[in-house]
Amino acid sequence: MTGWLPFPLLSAALLAVWLLLVQSLGLGSVLLGAVLAIAGGHALAALQPPGARVRRPGVMLRLVLLVLGDIARSNLAVARIVLRLGRRGRRAGFVRIPLELRDRYGLAALACIITATPGTIWVEFDSAAGAVLIHVLDLIDEEAWVRTIKQRYERPLMEIFE
């Protein structure tokens, strides 16, 4: 957390953001961007966030693709529901999912994935019980949802963050 580059990953991301913002790859832009990116790392360090280690970039890439696909599919599913196409008798409801994931970045990623996917939303996390409550727009089978979430998302996230 100390040293001149406390959060290399973040700094790299910041540099990328900077370059996208200035839309230039000139030396000046890169230099300035690098300075700002490092400064950004220090700014985050001032907030003393818990440390993060990210491993298994392959798993991460696979997860990203998987999520993108899921999001696209869910989009269409929800669109159908809104437009009242397809079958009737849809039921919405809450599902409580016990989690093993404890890393806060991992949890944050999971929350983002669940919430960003149309049809599901992260509602409540109970740190003592280690369970998350999600709301599902089209709830057919609670068990199936628990399984899906744990296998599709939680496991790879645990591989990445823990």
Partner: protein, 973 residues
């Protein structure tokens, strides 16, 4: 022939003397008296030295430029009439000083007394010497002021306070009327110079404004001279120390009124209006004063009403429109001054030696105070008009005039001599009462002090004056003849009539009237003797019309009750009517030119409507109206709805080519929303309840609705009219042409902000900084409503839940709820910061700039406060908003000020390119530095406000009466 400079010297001497007297130590009684006496004596000497110059109709004039462009110069003008008064003022002034040395007690703060006295004398001298009407008013008001201070000298007594206040109120009211009258006279004549005015009598009397001018001037004169119906202030002025009364009543203050009447007699008199107003007032006052005087139990009260009566006599004489009567008036002014001064001093001596002035308690003082008794008898004889004393002469002239005066209306024919005789009867009666009640009868018992003669020097002034009474009374022609001639000629000029100053004119009707008056007076006194001395105060029939009480009641009514209700009627202390008026005034202001010039726009063209904008503003308008609807009970909802209107505004800015505006508006909306939310925490919920539901409230709401609709339509019409006109040839073209070449930026809006009109921006950030300081200062003293002191309901419930669960600690619910959001918000901190820097750096060329960047940065900071709470954030971020604020302002101003070092105007910008190898041209612009200042200030100010507001929570959650170092830290770091 003395130098006319000496006139100003005399006045200056008196005022300087006043200043010196005021600076002497409190116990310097002798030094004060010496000073005042010598100064008064020098003044008298100076005046006397002018006698040769004025004796034969000469006028001494001394002019000093003061306000020449407005016709107001210091003009000192001494003629025979003024000389007579000047000598009275200084001469009697000297005697009064002498008298006062012995009269005043060692406990009295004498510096104040002599200072006011000398200043009053100076004002009076200035008044009689005035050769300019405005200057006359100037000194006139000064006499009111210093007489007020003298009357109120013993202000620990209620009588002194009330008397002084009454005198001031009445005389300044008169003085203000006089000012108005003099202004009108000046308007008629075209000058305020007395010589020019005196030469314009015909013009003045012929002017349509004559009557108003006359009435105004008379209001001044008659109030000052205590004429009916303004007579009541004078008796109450008795609360003054007796030397003051002697002075004010004899030679000075009250004489100023009749002095003015005589002074302006040549230009104002000679009309029916004059006759009726002045004559009637004088007559009533003459009779009333004399009648009431008989029944006074206070020596000074008796003398005061006698003064009123004698002034009424003078006024009546002046009002008769007769030259001879005017001569008599002038003569009586002189006589009255002499005998009244001596009488007052005698009364003062009695008071001083016996400790009381109550005629009922006094008796037989001829034994213990024989000399004083003799002096008083002579002076009282003059007052009563007994032959061989001066009062007789002028009184007989009055009786003669009463017989010959014109009577415009038949019913009053012959009434004047009767009235004059009756007044004579009264004056004899009260003079008798004065003498008999005090000096005759058995020796007094139970007086506060054992009476004996006053000190020699205290008696001396009285003796001198009584001697004068006798001298004038017996040898009028040689003693007072030349003086009266000079004075009368100064007033009447060439038209001075012939008159005879002799004690004996043969058996004439006036002599008969005098005899009747003397006899009648004696009879009346004997008749009334048994009734006088009862417990009842005041004169029969008039007891209920006690002037003082009436005055007080009128003042309370006029200056308090009526004023208050009128003030309430004309104004309001409520906000809503005020805002209503502002809106209505603006509506009227905008409507009026349009009404005069015609409707400035064509009918709308419906083609070319962009449906997106239509929908957008259907949304914006609906949310705005809904916000207005909800703001009373659903504050939170209203805030959300306002956000909708704000978004529509943002999109509109983008649509119509104003990306900078949209950016700033959006950021400001966000920060404002957070601010108000922080504030909502301290606004207890409104519950729908007993609200005004009556018809009046309904009408008011309907009225407000109408105003709102009118204001909205008005602004919409104006906007439409202006927008549908072709654009004028605006100065902005200059900016577009030069922004890049001379301002060094392509974002013209930003170049305007930091360069062309950088001064506006500097001012604008100053406003922001100032407001932040104010907010901070206010919150330092913030006392939340008791209903809000507790934690919010949500927190209490969630905390209780956590507490009840063994596996959780209080606050876990919040921590769990914020777990993911806080993680993300923290990650966003550097990202948003980076974005802020980006906005700052590119602002000169692309949308952005210091302000948007600053707001963005402060959002990044406040997000951390939201994520972790105040304590958490402040343990990690050392935000020092005040430093940022001050540094930003200093940087922006300093950047502008740097130009001064190069001899260029403030805020002159500088830019060039620095060529770095491998990187290329790096722009270097002072504008960026300026923008950096803006950025720093905005971060500082916004953070200061947000954080100071956020701090209230932790402040109130702590023990509410303990010092909170955290709050102080916001300011300092």
């Amino acid at each position: 022939m003395p130098d006319d400079m000496l006139l100003i010297a005399a006045i200056a001497l008196l005022f300087t003397g006043a200043l010196v007297a005021g600076l002497l130590p409190a116990n310097a009684r002798n030094a004060e008296a010496w000073l005042a006496g010598v100064i008064a004596l020098i003044g008298l000497g100076l005046m006397l030295s002018f006698w040769p110059a004025v004796a034969h109709g000469g006028v001494v004039r001394h002019e000093i430029a003061w306000l020449p462009t407005l016709g107001l110069n210091l003009v000192l003008r001494l003629d025979g009439f003024a000389w007579m008064f000047a000598v009275l003022v200084t001469g009697i002034g000297f005697l009064v000083v002498l008298y006062a040395r012995y009269y005043m007690s060692p406990d009295d703060p004498v510096p104040r007394f002599f200072a006011f006295f000398l200043a009053f004398m100076g004002s009076m001298l200035g008044l009689v010497l005035s050769g300019n009407l405005i200057q006359l008013v100037f000194f006139w008001e000064l006499t009111s002021l210093f007489s007020f201070l003298l009357i109120g000298y013993w202000h620990h007594t209620a009588a002194a306070r009330d008397g002084a206040r009454m005198a001031l109120t009445i005389t300044t009211l008169g003085g203000l009327c006089l000012l108005a009258g003099v202004l009108v006279l000046g308007h008629i004549v075209g000058s305020y110079d007395l010589d020019i005015v005196l030469a314009s009598g015909d013009r003045i009397r012929a002017d349509p404004l004559y009557l108003p001018a006359l009435i105004l001037v008379l209001l001044g004169a008659l109030t000052k001279s205590a004429q009916f119906p303004f007579q009541f202030w004078l008796p109450n002025a008795m609360a003054a120390p007796t030397p003051v009364s002697a002075y004010l009543h004899s030679a000075t203050l009250v004489k100023a009124g009749v002095f003015l009447l005589a002074r302006l007699w040549p230009v104002l008199a000679g009309t029916d209006a004059w006759f009726w107003i002045v004559g009637t007032t004088g007559l009533i006052t003459l009779l009333l004063g004399a009648y009431v005087a008989i029944f006074q139990n206070d020596l000074k009260g008796l003398l005061a009403y006698s003064t009123i009566s004698h002034l009424g006599l003078i006024t009546l004489l002046l009002g008769l429109n007769s030259r001879l009567a005017t001569v008599a008036a002038i003569f009586h002014m002189l006589n009255h001054a002499i005998f009244k001064a001596s009488l007052f001093m005698a009364a003062g001596a009695i008071d001083h030696e016996t400790g009381t002035r109550d005629i009922r308690r006094l008796s037989g003082l001829r034994q213990s105070m024989p000399i004083t008794a003799a002096l008083a008898v002579v002076a009282a004889a003059a007052m009563a008009g007994v032959p061989l004393v001066n009062g007789f002469l002028s009184k007989e002239m009055f009786f003669a005039e009463s017989l010959t005066a014109p009577a415009p209306l038949p019913p009053f024919e012959g009434m004047l001599p009767v009235a004059a005789t009756l007044a004579g009867v009264f004056s004899v009666a009260y003079s008798l009462r004065f003498i008999c009640g005090v000096f005759l009868g058995p020796a007094p018992v139970g007086l506060p002090r054992q009476p004996h003669e006053p000190p020699r020097l205290m008696r001396f002034p009285v003796e001198l004056l009584v001697l004068a009474c006798l001298a004038v009374g017996i040898f009028p022609a040689i003693t007072v003849g030349p003086l009266l001639a000079a004075a009368a000629a100064a007033v009447l000029g060439a038209a001075t009539p012939a008159y005879s100053l002799a004690v004996w004119h043969g058996f004439t009707l006036p002599l008969l009237m005098s005899t009747v008056a003397l006899a009648g007076g004696v009879v009346l006194y004997l008749l009334l003797r048994r009734h006088l001395g009862g417990e009842a105060e005041g004169a029969p029939l008039l007891r209920r019309f006690e002037g003082r009480r009436l005055f007080e009641r009128a003042m309370v009514l006029l200056s308090w009750r009526i004023a208050s209700s009128l003030h309430g009627l004309m104004g309001t202390f409520r906000l809503q009517p005020q805002l209503r008026l502002v809106v209505l005034a603006a509506l009227a202001a905008a409507f009026w030119p349009v009404y005069r010039q015609g409707w400035p726009a064509a009918w709308p063209d419906l083609a070319g409507l962009d449906p997106v904008i239509v929908v957008l503003w259907a949304v914006g308008g609906a949310t705005a109206i809904a916000a207005a609807w909800q703001a009373k009970y659903h504050r939170f909802t209203a805030l959300i709805l306002v956000g909708g209107a704000g978004l529509a505004t943002c999109v509109t800015f983008v649509w119509f080519s104003a990306p900078d505006l949209a950016l700033t508006q959006l950021l400001v909306e966000t920060v404002t929303a957070i601010l108000i939310l922080l504030g909502l925490r301290w606004l207890p919920k409104r519950v729908k309840g007993a609200e005004p539901a009556g018809a009046a409230a309904g009408m008011r709401r309907l009225g407000d609705l109408a105003i709102a609709v009118a204001a909205g339509s008005g602004l919409a019409l104006l906007a439409y009219a202006a927008m549908s006109r072709p654009a004028p040839d605006a100065i902005s073209r200059y900016f577009l042409e030069r922004a890049y070449t001379e301002g060094g930026g392509t974002n013209v809006v930003n170049v305007i902000l930091v360069d062309f009109r950088g001064f506006d921006t500097l001012g604008e950030i100053t406003v922001l900084g100032v407001v932040a300081l104010t907010v901070f200062a206010l919150l330092r003293r913030f006392r939340p409503p008791p209903e809000s002191l507790d934690r919010p309901e949500q927190q209490r419930i969630q905390g209780a839940y956590d507490a009840a669960r063994p596996d959780r600690a209080v606050g876990d619910t919040a921590a769990d709820a914020m777990l993911v959001p806080a993680t993300l918000m923290r990650l966003l901190f550097p990202v948003i910061g980076l974005f802020a820097i980006f906005l700052l750096l590119r602002g000169h060329d692309q949308p952005g700039g210091g302000f948007a960047a600053g707001l963005t940065m402060s959002i990044a900071v406040i997000l951390q406060y939201m994520a972790g709470g105040t304590r958490w954030a402040e343990a990690r971020l050392r935000v020092r908003p005040l430093r940022w604020l001050g540094a930003g302002l200093l940087l922006a101003a300093g950047t502008g000020g740097a130009a001064l070092l190069f001899g260029r105007p403030f805020l002159t910008s500088y830019f060039s390119y620095l060529h770095l190898p491998g990187i290329g041209a790096v722009p270097l612009a002072s504008a960026l530095l300026f923008d950096l200042g803006v950025f720093l200030l905005v971060v500082g100010a916004t953070a200061l406000m947000l954080v100071a507001l956020a701090h209230q929570s932790i402040r109130s959650h702590q023990a509410p009466r303990r010092a909170d170092p955290g709050a102080a830290k916001v300011g300092e770091g």
